[in-house]
């Protein structure tokens, strides 16, 4: 019996009344095919599933809505997906401005629920992403500028560690320094240390007013200067520039807050920059564009950048890269088309461009840690032999490894996928 067949059989032992096992057509995670999904019904079942996988020497990739599966290195091993979809309870107290959501709750459903009472969920991953997935991937979108990063939204987490223990960290209150800030460590850790069961989240009041304006297409330097200025308006909640790195760029700004403030800033944008009002769905379109990769074969990178370094960063990317710049977030996304899924030379060029852009992105404040980037989507062949998390400093990788072996000593959770754990 092949190792794969043996693993397939062993998964049946993990199944139980509390853990559903679904066999399905193979899903490729960077070329590693996974044909089974475990769906625990609650946190205790999730913990049992992880312990059971460990006892059998199996490995699983945690999955929420599947929105961020492209992020990560090629797994060393993946016998099953570990799906949080059944952990779907919401607890919400409007007067408190916080809520608790199971990891499997879809962001769209939670947005709708809290909006009925005048609150806004400040996580800007797509509607079909789950709470657990959006936190594990630290998923962001254009409105993250106004919302704050996911790390600033998560108040507390319940996490099943790779070693199988159910744990809690943080709290449900908006201010807390009780013990280590483990919620920040887990947010963005992609399930490499543990699988999120549920989360306490800080909500924001829904703004009284929101307007979206389009910044007309301008030559690169001019467009950047205008967008940086627009992103710093008091009511700016989102601001983006799009286009080819070597060409003209068009912008989009969302203003949100008190009516008087939004109207004043909108008038200024119209007067100074010729901005024109457009529909609010333009911001949702930006979020969708952020997750797109050129078809049929392409690569997408996330490159942090300081506002003053935007122009040299785009220049380093090369004229044909498609870019989405969030000046207020200090980030840009760059996409490259490949000739084919096996276009090794194209992948090499794309990685080299991203690395050059990252070096340019930190301006004069460069320290050893500056210049980081990560590849968020690529064909399996383009990832082979590379760490998609870019050139993290050696000390940072050593710490990531030290954490991985302590939180997931048997390598049950996505072995090989995270930085510092390259197989």
């Amino acid at each position: 019996m092949s190792a794969q067949a043996a693993a397939f059989g062993a998964l049946a032992d993990v199944e139980g009344p509390d853990v559903e096992l679904v066999r399905h057509a193979p899903l490729s995670i960077d070329g590693v095919e996974v044909g089974a999904t475990l769906r625990p019904r609650d946190g205790e079942a999730l913990a049992r599933a992880i312990r059971s996988l460990a006892e059998r020497g199996l490995a699983a990739v945690p999955i929420g809505g599947g929105r961020h599966l492209g992020l990560g290195n090629r797994p060393r091993r993946a016998d099953a997906l570990l799906c949080s979809s059944r952990l779907a309870e919401i607890e919400f107290e409007p007067a408190e401005g916080v809520c608790h959501a199971g990891a499997g709750v879809r962001l769209g459903a939670l947005r709708a629920r809290v909006a009925r009472d005048g609150w806004e969920l400040p996580l800007d991953a797509p509607d079909d992403a789950t709470v657990g997935g959006a936190i594990a991937a630290a998923g962001i979108g254009p409105r993250t500028q106004g919302f704050g990063a996911p790390r600033d939204v998560v108040l507390g987490l319940e996490v099943v560690l790779g070693s199988g223990e159910r744990t809690r960290c943080g709290g449900r209150v908006v201010k807390n320094v009780t013990g280590y800030d483990l919620p920040k460590l887990y947010t963005g850790s992609q399930g490499a240390l543990g699988v999120i069961e549920g989360a306490w989240l800080r909500l924001r009041p829904r703004p009284a007013c929101a307007r979206v304006l389009e910044l007309p297409e301008r030559p690169r330097a001019d467009a950047i200067a205008r967008a940086v200025g627009a992103s710093r308006l008091p009511s700016a909640r989102a601001c983006a520039l799009q286009g080819e790195a070597g060409g003209a760029l068009a912008g989009c700004v969302e203003l949100a807050g008190a009516q008087a403030s939004v109207d004043r800033d909108a008038s200024w944008l119209a007067r100074e920059h010729g901005a024109k009002e457009i529909g609010a769905d333009a911001v949702d379109a930006l979020r969708a564009a952020q997750h797109e990769t050129p078809a049929p074969h392409g690569m997408r990178f996330r490159i942090p950048l300081l506002p003053t370094a935007t122009l040299p960063t785009l220049a380093a990317l090369g004229p044909e890269a498609r870019v989405l710049v969030y000046p207020g977030l200090r980030l840009c996304y760059a996409s490259f088309a490949l000739a084919s899924a096996d276009d090794a030379a194209g992948a090499e060029r794309a990685f080299a461009s991203a690395a050059a852009a990252a070096r340019a992105s930190a301006g004069s404040t460069a320290r050893a840690s500056a210049g980081s980037f990560r590849c968020e989507s690529a064909p399996p062949a383009a990832k082979r032999g590379r760490d998609v998390f870019g050139p993290a400093a050696a000390g940072e990788i050593a710490l990531a490894r030290a954490l991985k072996v302590r939180f997931d000593p048997r390598g049950v959770l996505s072995p090989g996928r995270f930085t510092g754990d390259v197989g």
């Binding site: 807390n176 300081l306 506002p307 940072e396």
Partner: protein, 478 residues
Amino acid sequence: MPDLLTALRAVVGAEGVLARPEELFVYECDGLTLHTGSPRAVAFPRETHEVQGLVRACRAHGVSFVPRGAGTGLSGGALAADGGVVIECSRMDRVLSLDAENRIAVVQPGVINAALSKAALPHGLFYAPDPSSQLACTIGGNVAENSGGPHTLKYGATSNHVLALELVLPDGELVQLGSPTGWSAGLDLVGAVVGSEGTLGIATAVTVRLSPLPEGVETLLAIFPDVVSACRAVGAIIGAGLVPAALEIVDRRTIAAVEASVYAAGLPLDAGAVLLVELDGSAVALPGELARVRALAAAAGASRVEVARDADERARFWRARKGAFGAMGRLAPDLYVHDAVVPRTKLPDVIAGVCAIGDRHGLTLSNVFHAGDGNLHPNISFDRRDPDELRRVLAAGAEILALCVDAGGVITGEHGIGTEKRDFMGLLFGDDDLDAMRRLRAAFDPDGCCNPGKLLPTPRFCAESNPRARGYDRVPFE
């Protein structure tokens, strides 16, 4: 091998090391004077490589070490719990760079909090976290404690403003964590280190976000007949979707102490509580927000609302709040400043419970707190020379923490755990929760030589306390 003191002097010079008992006396505690621990030496580095050298010297001699800023912490985090070496970072006080265009600064850990804002001011920027001790406390200490302050409600605590760290690890190696943009490709190790109370290493350079000065500021004082109605006003303001920069409550006993002191702000002595509200942001939006706050305060029972007419009056309003701790010195020789957080809707009940605990123990207890965050600071004035009173102070403190945890809260919002509350961690967390924290610590400091005895309970107490552990998630909403 040279002895420890010789090794330390080789790194920072003879003038950079204190070791005589009378010199060490001042370093035996921080702002929490009830807990003491005398170091065997105090060393004063000026540069990163000197911190590395000091750490390596300590390691070579098998001695633990404790980073220290200004010593203004309130949980015993900066004392040498097992007689180690204090590495005092106050001489590392340079702003290394200030990039106004990108709104970031890189500072050494000994830079004083208020000095950073002062340096940023000419550029129309400021450093948002503002602990009450901001005239003395250092950025390095703020990083260790994830310090907050009155404006945390809108601007967040230190962790929200630290983008990158240069960190000397407990083995003396140097790592760069995070990036000047605030985004890292891998784990959020900056987030893990901020608030780790100096147990994961010593920050030697801190890259922080600077914020633009708001266009306008409005500050108002609302006078209430009692604390409970002031708390209700806070709930109404939060529930209405307003996000003030600060929402602070000062109770009757505190008002009396402040008005009798040099911090007197003209507060009415017959008031049950005063709510201080600061709104900032877009100048055109402020008048509307101010009107809404006035109406909500009146509806909650405010007998009078005063709006500061100018900067002097704003300073007078804040004097009542920021001078409160100093004014307590009039009441008794000692002051125990407690710190806990509860869900905001539980504030009225919890405050009533806290006062009842103080009364039951026959203590002088007053409240001044960050009401918008649900962050309580019950202050107990006492005389430590009276052993019975000291016993009652400690008993009341334990009861207050239990009350807050029962309400779904946590045992510290901004002061940290330190030595003060490490044995209360079991109120909130179980064995496995605490073990996860130990794993984080061990990944950075496998030998446990960096600020030992802080933050985590001793295994003995942990085992004893665990059966009582109750999580915030088991407390239902109203």
